[in-house]
C-alpha cells in the first residue's frame, strides 16, 4: 500500500495534544493499511464528507451483535480499508487491565486487524477498528480460546453494561458498581449477544449522584448509588477545613485565585436544600431535608461521607435525541438494596419486569424511554408495580386531562341517552 500525501492531516501533527495522525503514521510502519486510513481520511477532509458505505451485515456464527460491518466507497484507491469492520470487545468492569491481557489483545489485533483501536467506545467496549470479513471467525476463536474473553453488544440487544470505578478507588461509592456490572454482564450473555429487543437497552452503574458514567443521561436502566440515613460528619475534620489545613474539594481548584476557603459560601450557601448550618464550631445537617446531591461531600471529602445504610436509586428511560428528543432517566425506584448476597435478585426482578412488558409493547426501534412516554408515567408505574409518589414528578400536572378509569367513577360509563333526554330536552 502506497503512502499518500496528507497535507491537511499533517497539520494535525502540530500542537500539544497527542496526535492521532502521528500515531497512525507510526502504526503504518508495521500495518501499511494505516496509510489507507490516512489517505481516505485526507480525502474526506478535501471532500468534507464521509467515504464509508452504509452498513454491511457481518458477524460471527451464533451472535447477532458485537461486530459492525464497514466498507470503503473508494476501495480502488484505498484497498487497505476496503473492509473496515469494527469489533467490540467487552471491557472489564472499571476498565482496569493487566498489561498481560492488554498486550495479548494488542497481539491479537496485530495478527488480524488494522492496528488501530478505540480505548474505549462510547458504551464502554474496547473497540478494535478495522478488519476484513475473513478475519472475524479466526479472531473470535483466538479471543475466546486463548484470551478467554468475549465480544460486547451491538444492535437491538442489551448493550455491554458499564460502570464507574466504584469502590475500587472511590470513597463515595454506595454499592459495588464493578461487581453488579460484572455479575449482570455474565447473567445476561444471551441478551447481549443475540438481539431480541425492540431496540438497544443499556445498563449503567454509578456509585453516587456525581454519576461519573453518565447513567442518568444515557442508560435505559440507571442505577445510581445513594443512602437512606445521615451523612457521616467528622467535626474535627470540619475544623481543619475551616482552618485552611485541608485542601478543599480535594484540591480541585488549586490553580485558581479563589481566596481562602469559606464554609458558609462554598458549602452552606450552595446546598440546594439549605439544610446545613453552623452551631459554634459544629456543622449541623438536617438530614430529613437533604436530597443527597453530593455537593458538600465533594467539597469536604475528609469531613463528610455518605451515610452507612447504602443502596441505590433506579432511574429509567434515558436516551440521546433520536427521535423524540433527548431524555434523562426518570426516577422510578427511590431506594433499593444492592447486595451481592442475593446475587442481585431484587434488581434482576425489576429489569425483567421492564423487559417482559417492553418486548411485548415496544415498537421497532423504540427505546424504553419512548415507550414510557407513549403510555404515560402512571401506566408505566402500574406495570412496574410501583405506587405513585410525589418523588416521581418534578411538579404535578398543570392540565386537568385525567384518564379516569370506568371503575373509578360511580355508576360506570354506560348511560341511557333516552332516559337522559326525558329529563333534558335537546
Amino acid at each position: 500500500m502506497a503512502k499518500h500525501d496528507t497535507p491537511m492531516l499533517d497539520e494535525l501533527e502540530k500542537g500539544p495534544w497527542p496526535s492521532f495522525v502521528t500515531d497512525l503514521k507510526r502504526q503504518a510502519e508495521t500495518h501499511p493499511e494505516c496509510w489507507d486510513i490516512l489517505g481516505q481520511l485526507e480525502l474526506s477532509y478535501e471532500d468534507k464528507i464521509t467515504h464509508w458505505k452504509h452498513g454491511g451485515i457481518v458477524g460471527v456464527f451464533g451472535y447477532g451483535g458485537g461486530i459492525v460491518g464497514r466498507y470503503s466507497d473508494v476501495p480502488g484507491r484505498f484497498p487497505g480499508v476496503e473492509h473496515f469492520h469494527t469489533i467490540r470487545v467487552a471491557q472489564p468492569s472499571g476498565m482496569y487491565y493487566s498489561t498481560e491481557n492488554l498486550r495479548a489483545l494488542m497481539d491479537l489485533w496485530d495478527k488480524y486487524g488494522s492496528g488501530m483501536t478505540n480505548m474505549h467506545g462510547s458504551t464502554g467496549d474496547m473497540i478494535l477498528l478495522g478488519t476484513r470479513t475473513e478475519n472475524l471467525e479466526p479472531l473470535f476463536w483466538d479471543l475466546t480460546h486463548d484470551l478467554k474473553q468475549d465480544l460486547g453488544g451491538s444492535g437491538s440487544n442489551l448493550r455491554t453494561p458499564s460502570c464507574c470505578l466504584g469502590e475500587s478507588r472511590c470513597e463515595w461509592s454506595c454499592y459495588d458498581t464493578q461487581d453488579i456490572c460484572y455479575a449482570l454482564t455474565m447473567h445476561y450473555q444471551d441478551e447481549i449477544h443475540r438481539p431480541a429487543f425492540p431496540y438497544k437497552f443499556k445498563f449503567k452503574f454509578s456509585g453516587c449522584a456525581n454519576d461519573c458514567v453518565a447513567a442518568i443521561a444515557r442508560s435505559d436502566f440507571a442505577v445510581i448509588g445513594t443512602w437512606k440515613d445521615d451523612i457521616q460528619i467528622d467535626q474535627a475534620a470540619v475544623k481543619e477545613y475551616v482552618a485552611g489545613n485541608y485542601s478543599v474539594n480535594g484540591g480541585s481548584h488549586k490553580d485558581g485565585d479563589w481566596g481562602p476557603f469559606s464554609l458558609k459560601k462554598e458549602v452552606i450557601d450552595l446546598c440546594p436544600t439549605q439544610c446545613m448550618w453552623m452551631e459554634g464550631e459544629e456543622l449541623k445537617i438536617d438530614n430529613s431535608e437533604c436530597n443527597r446531591c453530593m455537593h458538600c461531600i465533594n467539597v469536604m471529602p475528609r469531613a463528610l461521607r455518605p451515610g452507612k445504610e447504602k443502596g441505590a436509586t433506579i432511574c429509567m428511560g434515558a436516551k440521546a435525541p433520536i427521535l423524540d428528543g433527548a431524555q434523562f432517566a426518570t426516577m422510578i425506584i427511590p431506594f433499593i438494596e444492592v447486595s451481592k448476597e442475593n446475587e442481585y435478585e431484587n434488581i434482576i426482578d425489576v429489569i425483567e419486569r421492564i423487559w417482559d412488558w417492553w418486548m411485548e409493547v415496544g415498537k421497532n426501534r423504540e427505546r424504553v424511554g419512548e415507550t414510557m412516554q407513549r403510555v404515560g408515567l402512571p401506566t408505566f408505574l402500574s406495570i412496574m408495580e410501583v405506587e405513585p409518589i410525589p418523588q416521581h414528578i418534578r411538579e404535578p400536572r398543570s392540565n386537568p386531562y385525567v384518564f379516569w378509569k370506568e371503575e373509578e367513577v360511580p355508576g360506570g360509563f354506560e348511560r341511557d341517552i333516552v332516559a337522559f333526554r326525558k329529563r333534558h330536552a335537546a
Binding site: H54, R70, Y97, L165, T185, I224, P334
Partner: protein, 380 residues
C-alpha cells in the same frame, strides 16, 4: 488447533463474557478496595487516595486521543510494567490512569511520562477541561456530518492550558458527536459539539429496490415527511420508491439509518452546532440538557477554526465570570441566557428557539429527592 472453516461450530466457545474485574486490579487497588477514606489532588493530573489502615494510592492521569494504535497501547503497557507492577486503567472520558503506592514511584512515573514528548499529557483532574468524549466521524462512520478526531484534536490543542491546570470555576465536560444519533451522548455536556446535516435526503431510485424496506423508511421519519411514491430509475423502469417533503424535514438522518438509498450528507450542507450548559451530576442542581446556542458552523478541515474560536470564547468568558463550583449551565441560568449570548458575543437566532415537541417536562429526572412518608415502603 485454531478456527476450522470446514467445521465452524467445532470446539466453539461462546458467552463467556469479559474477564472479571477482580483478575486485573493493581495490587494497591486490590489491597484497599472498599476501604477508601478520602482523596486529594496535589497537582493537576495527580490523585492521591487514602484508605483505612494507611493504604495510599497515587494515580497519574494522562490524556489520549481515544483513537490509538496498538503501538501506543503497548507503550502504555511498557510504562505500567516499569512503574505500576503491570496494571493500568482507562477512564470513562478516554483518559488513561497509572497507579502506584508511593510518592517516589509517582515522581519516577511522572518523569517517565514527561520524557515521551506529547504522547501522554498529564492533567484532566479537578476544575479543568478534561478529555473530550467523542465518536468516530470520518475515520469510521457511515452517517457523520463532521469528523470527530480532527476537531477534537483542534479544540484540545486550543484549550490545552485548561487540561493541564485547575483554574476554572468548575469542570468543563466537552463532548463531540458527529451526527444526531449521538453515539457520544453529548446532550448533557457543558459544551457539546454536534455534527448536523442541513439538506434533505436524496432518493436513489437505482438502489432503493434492493436495499430499502419502504415501510420502515417511511415510519422512520418523525415528522411524516416521507411518503410512498412511484418513481423511474435510470433504466427507465418504474420502481416503488419514496418522496420526501423537504419542508417538513428536520435533517435528523433517521431515514438514512433505515434506508441506504436515502443519503443526506453534503459538503456544504453539513457542519457543526454548538450546545452548552448540560451536566449529568446531581451535585447542587439536577442534571441538565445542553442547549443549542450556535446552530451551524461550517466544516473547515483540518482545524475547524470557527468552532475552536467559539468554544474558546465561551470558556474564557465563563472562566472570568462564573462563581466557584458553578458549572456552565448553572452560570448561564444565574445570569440568564440573554446575558449568556451577550457576554459570549454569540448572535442569537430563532434557531435557538425550540419549535419541536416536548412532552415529559414534569417527570422527575434526578436522583435527588426527599424521603417522606411516601418512600417508607422502600426505606423503613
Amino acid at each position: 488447533m485454531g478456527y476450522d472453516p470446514k467445521n465452524p461450530m467445532e470446539g466453539r466457545i461462546t458467552d463467556i463474557g469479559p474477564h472479571s474485574y477482580d483478575d486485573m486490579l493493581p495490587p494497591v487497588i486490590k489491597a484497599n478496595r472498599g476501604k477508601w477514606l478520602y482523596h486529594e489532588i496535589p497537582e493537576s493530573g495527580v490523585l492521591v487516595h487514602y484508605a483505612e489502615g494507611g493504604g495510599v494510592c497515587y494515580t497519574v492521569r494522562v490524556g489520549s486521543p481515544r483513537l490509538v494504535s496498538i503501538e501506543h497501547v503497548r507503550e502504555m503497557c511498557d510504562i505500567a510494567d516499569t512503574h505500576c507492577e503491570g496494571y493500568l486503567r482507562f477512564t470513562t472520558r478516554n483518559n488513561a490512569e497509572f497507579m502506584v503506592d508511593s510518592k517516589e514511584k509517582c515522581d519516577a512515573l511522572i518523569a517517565d511520562l514527561k520524557s515521551r514528548g506529547t504522547k501522554f499529557p498529564i492533567g484532566g483532574t479537578g476544575a479543568c477541561v478534561t478529555n473530550i468524549v467523542h465518536t468516530q466521524g470520518w475515520v469510521h462512520c457511515h452517517t457523520p456530518a463532521t469528523d470527530a478526531s480532527g476537531p477534537v484534536k483542534a479544540v484540545m490543542d486550543d484549550l490545552f492550558e485548561y487540561f493541564v491546570s485547575m483554574k476554572l470555576p468548575a469542570q468543563i465536560r466537552i463532548a463531540l458527536a458527529c451526527c444526531l444519533n449521538m453515539c457520544g451522548a453529548v446532550h448533557a455536556s457543558d459544551i457539546a459539539l454536534l455534527g448536523v446535516h442541513r439538506k434533505p435526503p436524496m432518493v436513489d431510485n437505482d438502489r432503493i429496490t434492493g436495499v430499502c424496506e419502504l415501510p420502515l423508511a417511511i415510519a422512520a421519519c418523525p415528522l411524516g415527511a416521507i411518503k410512498p411514491a412511484k418513481a423511474t430509475n435510470s433504466q427507465g423502469e418504474e420502481v416503488k420508491s419514496v418522496k420526501v417533503n423537504s419542508e417538513r424535514c428536520m435533517f435528523c438522518g433517521n431515514c438514512y439509518t433505515m434506508c441506504p438509498a436515502m443519503p443526506l450528507a453534503d459538503p456544504e450542507g453539513d457542519g457543526m452546532a454548538i450546545l452548552v450548559g448540560g451536566k449529568v451530576s446531581n451535585a447542587k442542581s439536577a442534571p441538565k440538557f445542553s442547549k443549542l446556542v450556535v446552530p451551524f458552523l461550517p466544516n473547515n478541515p483540518p482545524r475547524w477554526p470557527e468552532v475552536t474560536e467559539v468554544v474558546r470564547r465561551i470558556v474564557h468568558v465563563y472562566a472570568k465570570d462564573a462563581k466557584k463550583y458553578e458549572r456552565i449551565g448553572e452560570w448561564a441560568e444565574r445570569i440568564g441566557w440573554e446575558k449568556f449570548f451577550e457576554k459570549c458575543d454569540i448572535p442569537f437566532t430563532e434557531k435557538s428557539i425550540d419549535d419541536y415537541r416536548l412532552a415529559y417536562d414534569t417527570w422527575k429526572t434526578t436522583a435527588a429527592f426527599k424521603y417522606t412518608s411516601h418512600t417508607d415502603a422502600y426505606t423503613k
